[in-house]
Subunit: 124 residues, 2 copies
DNA sequence: ACTCGACTTGGACATTATCCAGAGTGGCGG
DNA sequence: CCGCCACTCTGGATAATGTCCAAGTCGAGT
């Protein structure tokens, strides 16, 4: 546990939002100016391997990192401003996939992304 | 409808797989050598706007384009080799999102990505 | 204090996507 | 048939994101 990794962990823990790798880097630089992008990417990759954070691919421009990896949840994305909210649907989508639709895959996870327009953008 | 756009449409229609923009470009070049990347991107963007093809963000490396945009379906992705299959689950995930979890959004679409390991990779 | 290994750094590089200025093309009125 | 206009395409530059590598740095153990 080095100073650099602690800073990355603090950035993710401080705000429970969904940051891009670049945003994590910028915030890390604010706390530790000499930290490099490579270290941020390395550390994020390790945190993902450890299961401490999740990668989220809601848009294709950049990965986002979700520090709320321990409680299963899905995401609600505004199509206009890109805002992301965590949501907790009632059903279990894994159960909705019958064996006949699994093609022999061993299915281990499911990601659900709801898309819509947030109240702010709807008002504008 | 120019020659270039016809070629892009043919590429997408010829194989019902999930091509990246770059794969579309390579296949388009095979049919029409002087087509440029910009034109492929433009045309793909127009097709998406028209609702003829869907963008799929199963990994973060590159967008993929799904020509099967007219029948709602979801995707089953192999975590190892990246193979993508279309699947048709039984339930309707939109119904699983109660109003209390919508935060005022007008939710219009849902994407579901199942992740697992395909039979080929499981055998290897 | 020395050595070794792990970590970090900074920059180069790769990939994917977008932008832009200029050239090309086709239709249409004259 | 000619020239004009709107639109499209091209090729290259550029941006955004992510990865890799060689060398430097730091700390633990001896």
């Amino acid at each position: 546990m080095t100073a650099q990794r602690r800073v990355v962990a603090e950035v993710l823990d401080g705000d429970h939002v969904h940051l891009t790798a670049d945003e994590v880097h910028m915030r890390a630089v604010a706390k530790l100016p000499e930290i490099s992008r490579a270290t941020v990417y390395n550390t994020l990759g390790e945190l993902v391997s450890l299961g401490e954070v999740m990668e989220v691919a809601t848009d294709k421009r950049a990965k986002r990192y979700d520090p709320n990896a321990h409680r299963p949840h899905h995401h609600l994305v505004c199509a206009q401003c890109g805002a992301i909210r965590d949501v907790h649907p009632s059903g279990n989508p894994l159960a909705d996939l019958p064996d006949s639709e699994r093609f022999g895959f061993s299915v281990s996870a499911v990601e659900v992304t709801y898309r819509g327009v947030c109240p702010n953008c709807a008002a504008a």
